[in-house]
Amino acid sequence: MSSSRSGYVWGVLTLLAVWQVGAWWAGESVLAGPATVLAKLASEARTQKFWHHVGSSSIRVFAALVVSFVSAVPLGLFLGSNARADRLARPLIYLTYPVPKIVLLPLVLLIFGLGDMGKIAMLSLILFFQLLITTRDAARAVPRSARYALFSLGGTKRHLFAHVIWPSTLPAVFTALRIATGTVVAVLFFVESIGTRYGMGFYILDAWGRADVPQIFVGIVVLALMGVILYETFDILERVFCKWSQL
């Protein structure tokens, strides 16, 4: 068994043990135990509606990842390698970045609507700044000697992007994706509490309204699993595309 897999097994076993002790202490009506939740999960997984909830949330997160990646990463690379453009854009970024994006939720929903578009826009906005700033800083950190080396080999600015700036920033991009994913899954709960009947956020709130504690925990477990799948996907992609940074 690989150390990563055995780490997962030990992690899950520890979590289940702590969870079970907590359930005994607080009582099943407050903190449903793992056996109850797993039984509920098994029964929910047999319904089409449950998978509709899971699918809706997954699509929103995936779409937000794609939208933010294709908008923030190229812009970050450009600003990081162009000091003048960075100087112009910096005030705008630093003014808007510290604003907690969740407070913009009403405005975003007003502009993009209550449907999927508004939710994806909100999630993308959160991911965008984290990816933009990390990518820009990583591109800015490329040492001058790497640029000299590339230009002295006959490289142009296009080669500099392809052979130096892009590969050198990629590990930082993966780190930003991992950090932002945690925030996005958390915000998913909020955005899916408005104007939808599908998604894990709605699923948890609906269960809360009916005081269905096991279903609340099923929702939490699913969100945790979504996080694990995303983190593992980023890890695999990083191992493939940044073999050098894993040495």
């Binding site: 080999l153 006959g154 080669h159 590969p167 050198s168 050098w244």
Partner: protein
């Protein structure tokens, strides 16, 4: 009047002043340097005397504030395909394997990548078994060999070396100096080396430019025709020249 038509590279009255937030920083005062094809030049001096700036101008990577640089009689305003550069911190790309680093210049120039030739060069530089590893898996000396291979594979007319062995221990440094001398004897490219190590300058420079001051200026030019010859290190001539260059540098302090 001196005939300069056969010079490989000429720096004509070049100066360099960097602009900074707290005002201009003069790095190099009026300097003339020339190098013939197949000749080696060592520029030696203390840190901050503008010797690296001079080399970057010769590489076409920094423009002089005044004066001009000519390569094979033409105004040099950008890096030239016949000029290769080796940097102190190697300038290797950690995301590329040794082989990919060495082949990069050929690929960028859309030249034929002869894998056998690359392998032969890596073997010549004693890193024949390192082609598929990443730079961070190599020692400092091996990294510098890769940087050298990346420069030599392009068959340069002029090889520029910026403090190439400064980060290495004494024995590795001497071994690499001998390797550079051997490569030069086999290929006879022009070579300009910047160093603060006097022994290195005497070992590799047929002409030694002693620099000093801030902004930097040429204090003396020392002829050293035996440089790059085998077993030169340890000879009486080597030590006499070493003492002479050292004495000139001490005078300037």
């Amino acid at each position: 009047m001196q005939d300069t038509s056969h010079d490989l590279i000429r720096c004509i009255a070049v100066t360099k002043t960097y602009r900074a937030d707290n005002g201009p920083i003069p790095a190099l005062s009026n300097t003339d340097v020339c190098l013939s094809p197949g000749e080696t030049l060592a520029v030696v001096g203390p840190s901050g005397c503008g010797k690296s700036t001079l080399l970057l101008m010769m590489a076409g990577l920094e423009a002089p504030t005044t004066g001009r640089v000519e390569f094979k009689g033409e105004h040099l305003v950008r890096p030239h395909r016949a000029i290769s550069l080796v940097l102190q911190d190697y300038g290797l790309f950690p995301w590329k394997t040794v082989r990919d680093n060495v082949e990069l210049g050929l690929r960028i120039r859309r030249e034929l990548v002869n894998r056998e030739r690359v392998s032969d060069l890596l073997t010549e530089l004693d890193i024949g078994d390192k082609g598929e590893v990443f730079p961070q898996q190599l020692s400092g000396g091996q990294k510098q060999r890769v940087a050298l291979a990346r420069a030599l594979i392009l068959d340069p007319s002029l090889l520029l070396l910026d403090e190439p062995f400064a980060a290495l221990d004494t024995l590795t440094r001497e071994r690499l100096q001998d390797l550079v001398a051997e490569s030069w004897r086999a290929r006879k490219f022009g070579m300009a080396l910047v160093t603060h190590n006097i022994q290195e300058a005497v070992r590799l420079g047929q002409r030694i430019l002693v620099m000093g001051g801030t902004p930097g200026e040429v204090l003396e030019v020392v002829d050293n025709p035996s440089a790059c010859s085998p077993d030169y290190r340890g000879t009486q001539e080597f030590y006499e020249l070493y003492r002479r260059v050292r004495g000139r540098l001490e005078q300037a302090l």
